[in-house]
């Protein structure tokens, strides 16, 4: 079968090979695209070449995700509703990572029923995941087959263990101390950022484009540390106990491991990285996993009978998210020390040789895979000294990648000598550059996936961006050789504002932009440039200044970052306070020394951590070496000036100062009192949860409930195809209101239409001010920032109209536009809760309500809950009984180990007890959006609004993240015309739309929450997903509550009415993630239980007359996770929303 796209994939000519998919697809018809899909599908199954397969998979993904849904004839409309249902079997295959089976299942359905938006969404998901799985498999194979790593996978028995600890480490001092091997490693700084070209997949397919300029640096936190030093350190020594002692000094974690299985249990504690290093260094070879052998036998072979090893890691106060590859550097440092100790490097101390550095880098990749994390191939650059060019390499006949991919897994390193970059230039760079950590710590994983995807698709703008980034790389290398630091600043700035953001717009954010603007304003021409480090900005960043002003710049930049953080900390996820670093280029790379005899001690911080526990034990219970060590340490404390403050530090640790937790508890109790926390209700919920009367399993309706899909006549269809939004000529009439019915294009082919009169009715109602908007903003959007406690409503999530806009700004801009068109401003109500009220109020006040001139009201929440430690039963239900997305093999192992640890945590903390071990704000929770409409009654906002505008009839309620919802006259008119109490907007389901939908429940048409469905598969019978945008008739709602407009001033009556209706609403127990922050930017995520009531259940009330209407996806879709943003931008959704907005 001839196929244009296969020709592109297989083309030998780079120009043809680099052709864009988008250009072809835009011009192709639906039939042509489907033919191409069939050809690509056959091609990818037949091809042996990794990159042909992967590129075909990504083409298929993109066609199904972006191009087919745009074709006008691909829609569920007009077809039997059932044809668009996604089969549960296929979905289960997806969850279980059986992607080929899932694809077969979806394709069979497409063949039987024709293409549809839903099936395309499912196919897109399956192709996307299979593409990444194929790539990940290849990286894993390459890592395993790197020479020097292979034997570790073959070694499965202690008797086969071929390593021995070097003799030097076994020679005790006279006192009985074993020597300590100390390794210190710099971190790496990427001076070029050539478009994330250090992603493995990129380097392996496009080695010519994979190039970075990587500098090894030592760091100090400005104002705290005396001088820069290598940020990561590792210590290793033999101990006279047959166990493995792992210590993370900076995380305060210690484990004495006596069992082989525990070494492979990565997420059990904070020592996953040390375990990965032990394994990747071959001390406990990966082939030992699951062997059932005894650790002490293995140690006997390795170190000698009755002996073990102690491995200690220490990060010198450099916070997480620094974008300096601290964790990969630490892993490499640990691996290097382990390899030295077991004779896998020639020298026990000093620098490493080139082939040894390469092996350490390869092992670090292996270690990252083992521990379920990931990084780029330049991240272990700190192992090498000074400045180096790291470049992708074509695979040669001796490489395991040869014939599989164009490039090698491991790049080449060229260390730049002083002849290339003179010492003066290095000094000048150090004198000009201010390195900072802006305080934001975000997961860059999704960004790296986006980069890979865009590279494989060769999307036009992004591909040209990549070419530009490559040219800037060449320019930076040239400038460096010429010593032009100012030029470098200019180049890195251009890089950030042009190619980097062309490829990934999300690399920038409002915080970074604001800080850059303020620095530029303050320093003018003396600010030479900005430079993004690593995957995205906001964390580690560089600012280049005229050297004479660097010291001043360090202070002012710190103040600027602090002030900007204060302004934005409710809107963006900050993990810590911003810091400024001092740095120095490290000319040694990773470096080791042996501390023997009187110097055989660990770091002071190690003793601060370990000594208190040792002192609690009887001296005779300590081993000979421990006793000798304590004596030695005691002597050193008395004589060594470096340890002069140690006694006080130890004293403080043994007898801690006033407990912060007590204060936190008092704050929490005060807050609960202030917020009117209902203790009696809370006790009841806690008791019910504890006894098992409520819980995740109890959320479900009885198993005998019959769940069916709706009948076609149950829903009105306003999906794309039945009418078009483009002809909004009534906008032109803004100011003088006219009904312009003729401007609405109606599709005569649609079977169910709204009459033109509906639209006119809606326009009239708008003009008369009979509608208000209610934006639900009481929740924090846990999924948006993974429990970081940021107010989602304020999150400047995307650049629209040339600026970063928050969710609230977008909603106000839509209301402004409709208000202008209608000639009457629309009242806008923002519901808030204790968590969001003040931040939203203040944020809007500072920004003058984004210039919104219509009435703007806040409706503060009146209910608050206290989070609970979940029960082990519910955790097991959520993780073991509910269908879960299976992860890649190793990541899944890590997750299972984490789940076991979290269940242990819940049991240890006390199941169903109050969750108090966090900041007070993080212990509370809003109680579900059901309460937000009754709150309007209780807090008097509705009463005031009705007094101001008695004509108000309808509320359009929507979620904060339904950014496409505006006050559409057609929908408003339809609602008014129907006379219903509530009109609910639904969208055709795609595979990612999970959480219930529109159903016939025992024959009764209503919305049902996903967690209430009796069986998981029931959801897949439902064609429509709830967008949670609802048009509510105020009069009918009050009727349901048994109230009249006059009653809205009677608080007691309202309370009673709300309580009565609330009692009829089900209470759901849900698990949410909450972050606990500690240390230097460290974050732990805990699952906590909370309860909520949801508004959708109102549709189940007998007195509630509801209508349902299908709306276009772009209007009804919700933004739940930042990872959705890129697709949202690319599939035209962002442009659609921009078209609805009128910015101030």
């Amino acid at each position: 079968m001839s196929s244009r796209l296969i020709d592109i994939i297989t083309a030998g000519d780079p120009n043809a090979r680099n052709s864009s998919l988008d250009a072809f697809c835009r011009a192709a018809s639906l039939a042509e695209l489907l033919d191409e899909c069939a050809a690509l599908e056959a091609f990818r199954r037949a091809s042996d070449n990794l990159y042909e397969r992967v590129r075909a998979l990504f083409f298929l993904y993109a066609i199904h995700r972006f191009h087919l849904p745009e074709k006008p004839d691909l829609t569920g409309f007009g077809k039997p509703v059932r044809s668009t249902l996604i089969p549960y079997d296929g979905y289960t295959h997806l969850l279980q990572r059986r992607f080929e089976e899932a694809i077969d299942c979806f394709l069979a359905l497409q063949t039987a029923h024709g293409p549809s938006d839903s099936i395309s969404s499912a196919l897109a998901e399956a192709y996307h995941r299979l593409g990444f799985q194929t790539l990940a498999d290849q990286v894993r194979r390459s890592v395993r087959s790197v020479r020097g790593n292979q034997w570790m996978f073959r070694t499965g028995h202690p008797a086969d263990h071929p390593l021995r600890v070097r003799r030097e480490l076994l020679q005790r001092s006279g006192e009985g101390l074993f020597p300590v091997l100390h390794e210190a490693t710099p971190v790496r700084m990427d001076l070029s950022h050539s478009g994330w070209s250090d992603i493995f997949f990129l380097g392996m397919d496009f080695p010519e484009g994979a190039r970075v300029l990587n500098v090894s640096i030592d760091l100090a936190v400005h104002g705290r540390d005396p001088a820069p030093r290598p940020p990561v350190e590792a210590y290793l020594r033999v101990i006279d106990e047959p166990l493995l002692r792992l210590v993370s000094v900076d995380l305060g974690a210690v484990a004495e491991i006596t069992n082989l299985a525990e070494v492979f249990d990565y997420a059990r504690d904070y020592l996953g990285l040390l375990k990965a290093a032990i394994i990747a260094a071959g001390i406990i070879p990966p082939g030992m996993e699951g062997s059932g052998e005894r650790l002490q036998d293995l140690l006997a072979r390795l170190v000698g009978s009755g002996r073990g090893l102690e491995l200690v890691s220490q990060v010198n106060g450099i916070p997480k998210g620094s974008r300096l590859a601290v964790s990969t550097s630490l892993l490499a440092c640990l691996i290097a020390v382990c390899m030295r100790a077991t004779g896998q490097t020639q020298a026990l101390t000093g620098m490493l040789q080139e082939h040894e550095r390469r092996l350490v880098a390869a092992r670090a990749i292996l270690g990252e895979w083992l521990a379920g994390s990931g990084g780029g191939w330049q991240d272990s650059g700190g192992v090498w000294p000074g400045m180096k060019l790291i470049t992708g390499q074509l695979a040669g006949p001796d490489d395991p990648e040869y014939g599989v991919s164009r490039g090698r897994l491991l790049p080449g390193h060229h260390i730049m000598g002083e002849d290339e970059v003179p010492a003066a230039t290095r000094a000048r760079l150090q004198d000009s550059l201010v390195l900072v950590h802006g305080g934001m710590a975000q997961d860059v994983g999704p960004i790296l996936e986006m980069v890979t995807e865009k590279y494989l698709l060769r999307s036009e703008a992004e591909w040209s961006g990549r070419q530009k980034a490559m040219r800037i790389y060449d320019e930076i290398v040239g400038l460096l050789q010429r010593g032009d630091v100012r030029g470098i600043g200019d180049a890195t700035t251009r890089n950030f504002f042009d190619p980097i953001q062309t490829i990934i717009p999300w690399a920038n954010n409002l915080y970074t932009t604001t800080v850059i603007d303020r620095v530029r304003a303050a320093f003018g021409d003396d600010f030479w440039g900005f430079w993004m480090l690593g995957g995205m900005s906001g964390g580690g960043m560089g600012f280049i200044f005229e050297p004479a002003r660097r010291v001043e710049a360090q202070a002012r930049l710190h103040a600027t970052m602090l002030a900007t953080k204060r302004e934005l900390e409710n809107a963006l996820p900050f993990a810590m306070e911003p810091v400024v670093y001092d740095f120095a280029i490290n000319a040694r790379g990773t470096f080791a020394e042996l501390r023997a005899d009187v110097e055989a001690l660990m770091s002071p911080a190690y003793y601060t951590l370990m000594v208190p526990a040792l002192l609690k034990r009887e001296r005779y219970a300590l081993t000979l070496a421990r006793r000798a060590e304590l004596d030695r340490f005691g002597a050193a404390c008395r004589t060594d000036p470096a340890l002069s403050g140690m006694m006080q530090t130890l004293f403080d640790r043994i007898i801690p100062r006033a407990d912060h937790e007590d204060t936190a508890h008092r704050d929490l109790d005060a807050l609960l009192d202030e917020l009117g926390f209902d203790r009696i209700q809370h006790e009841q919920i806690r008791a019910d949860l504890h006894s098992g009367r409520i819980g995740l399993a109890q959320n479900r309706l009885p198993a005998s409930t019959v769940i069916e899909d709706v009948y076609p006549s149950d829903v009105a269809n306003l999906e794309a195809g039945s009418w078009k939004l483009e002809a909004r000529s009534w906008k032109l009439e803004a100011g003088s209101w006219k009904l312009e019915a003729g401007s609405w294009k109606l599709d005569p082919a649609s079977s169910i239409q709204y009459p033109v009169s509906s639209i006119q009715l809606g326009q009239q109602a708008l003009h008369e001010g009979r509608v208000a908007v209610v934006t639900l903003a009481a929740g924090v959007g846990s999924r948006w920032t993974h429990g970081a406690g940021v107010v989602k409503a304020l999150n400047p999530f995307c650049k629209l109209g040339g600026k970063h806009r928050s969710f609230i700004e977008v909603h106000l801009a839509k209301s402004r536009r409709v208000g202008q068109m209608a000639g009457a401003p629309i009242p806008h109500i923002i519901t808030t809760s204790y968590l969001t009220h003040e931040p939203i109020r203040d944020f809007l006040a500072q920004r003058d309500n984004y210039g919104y001139t219509g009435p703007l009201h806040f409706s503060p929440g009146r209910a608050v809950g206290l989070r609970l430690i979940p029960t082990a039963r519910d955790l097991r239900f959520a993780w073991e009984e509910m269908p879960q997305q299976l992860l890649d093999e190793q990541a899944q192992k890590v997750r299972e180990s984490l789940h076991a640890a979290l269940i242990g945590w819940a049991q240890q903390m006390g199941e169903s007890s109050d969750y108090r071990d966090n900041l007070p704000q993080q212990c509370l929770h809003p109680v579900g959006h059901w309460f937000e409409i009754p709150n309007l009654l209780k807090n008097g906002v509705l009463a005031r609004l009705l007094e101001e505008r008695p004509q108000l009839e309808v509320l359009m309620m929507h979620n904060i993240d339904t950014v496409g919802a505006d006050v559409d006259p057609a929908l408003l008119g339809a609602h008014l015309d129907s006379g219903a109490a509530m009109t609910v907007e639904v969208i055709t389901r795609r595979v990612e739309d999970r959480g219930g939908g529109l159903a016939r429940v025992d024959g009764h048409l209503r919305l049902i929450e996903g967690l209430a469905l009796p069986q998981e598969e029931d959801e897949f019978k439902l064609s429509y997903y709830n967008s949670n945008t609802m048009w509510i008739s105020i009069g009918k709602l009050l009727d349901l509550f048994g109230l009249t407009r006059a009653d809205l001033r009677d608080a007691a009556k309202i309370d009673a009415a709300v309580r009565a209706v609330a009692a009829r609403m089900p209470t759901y127990i849900t698990l949410k993630d909450v972050k606990k922050r500690w240390g230097h930017g460290q974050e732990d995520v805990f699952p906590v239980a909370q309860f909520e009531k949801l508004w959708g259940d109102m549709t189940a009330l007998p007195g509630m007359d509801c209508r349902y209407v299908i709306v276009p996806r772009m209007r009804g879709q919700q933004l739940k996770e930042p990872a959705q943003l890129d697709g949202w931008l690319r599939d035209g959704s962002a442009a659609y929303v921009e078209g609805l907005c009128e910015w101030a």
Binding site: R147, Q150, W151, D160, P162, L163, Q344, L359
Partner: protein
């Protein structure tokens, strides 16, 4: 190349008594380990043999070699400076001739009519170069041996051209540097304890010993290995490895002597007798345990 000299090293301070142990040889005659080794050398046409010993061991060693004492010269190694140094002690003895080298704590049992030494000498004479006997060894045993990397000699299944030698490599190093096509995964060519060496080895050892002495101020703490000299040899001249199908027995390890004795007996004239007694032994021990 004609090989008439052999050097046996037996100067290890912790294995001084090993060559004195008495075993019954394949022909049923009681002999010392040293005598068996000497006969192995003689079988390959060797005429003069030097034994490098710890000072003071000359007389007891001479006493256990019986009729061969006349061919032997004992060379004392005055300081324990390593294996390489022990060989170097025989420098004057070998002069500028190639020589067979055996270690004093191993016994070799050939599976073929030709003894191991005969095979090795034949190859060295035919190829006119240094040859080391090697055996494919599992990577778990790498901590005990020197190992080589190289390419197979065209047309020969058991002959390799050595390009790298590493003493007791880690498997990491072995995988990276000791690549030998045709071996099973996880197997490397490790030394068998028997070599034909050229005078160049002595030169290399000499320069290394001098180098060490100058670096550490004449102190003899640093031990010189033979492998480091052979690594240099491989870069200087043609150097081959012969893959041996024979078995070697380290008499210095636990039960080493017993196993070596059994191996000799089971491959010699008393095989039937020994086998019968062994079976009897097995049967009675099993009975005893069951009872």
């Amino acid at each position: 190349m004609h090989i008439t000299k052999a050097v046996i090293t037996a100067a290890g301070r912790n294995q001084r008594t090993l060559p004195l142990q008495t075993l019954t040889d394949r022909d049923g005659v009681e002999k010392s380990v040293l005598a068996i080794l000497v006969e192995e050398a003689i079988s390959a046409g060797i005429e003069d043999i030097a034994v490098v010993v710890a000072p003071g061991d000359e007389a007891p060693y001479a006493a256990v070699v019986g009729d061969h004492a006349g061919r032997l010269r004992f060379i004392p190694q005055t300081e324990p400076r390593g294996y390489g140094h022990a060989i170097y002690c025989a420098k004057d003895f070998v002069g500028d001739a190639p020589f067979l080298h055996l270690v004093g704590d191993h016994l070799y049992v050939s599976a073929e009519a030709q003894s191991c030494a005969q095979q090795l000498v034949a190859v060295a004479e035919a190829e006119n170069c240094a040859v080391s006997a090697v055996q494919a060894t599992r990577e778990s045993l790498l901590p005990y041996y020197g190992a080589v990397g190289g390419k197979r000699v065209a047309g020969r299944k058991d002959l390799y051209e050595i390009d790298t030698v590493i003493e007791k490599p880690t498997p990491t190093e072995a995988e990276l540097r000791l690549i030998v096509p045709g071996l099973r995964a996880g197997h490397y060519l490790c030394f068998f304890g028997m070599h034909i060496l050229t005078p160049a080895v002595m030169e290399i050892l000499e320069s290394r010993i001098k180098n060490h002495e100058s670096r550490i101020g004449g102190s003899a703490n640093q031990r010189i290995t033979l492998s480091e000299a052979l690594a240099v040899l491989a870069t200087r001249e043609k150097y081959l490895a012969l893959e041996e199908r024979a078995l070697r027995y380290d008499v210095g390890v636990k039960y080493g002597l017993l196993i070596a004795q059994l191996a000799l007996a089971l491959s010699g004239s008393d095989r039937e007798d020994v086998l019968t007694r062994l079976v009897e032994l097995l049967a009675t021990r099993a009975l005893g345990r069951n009872a």
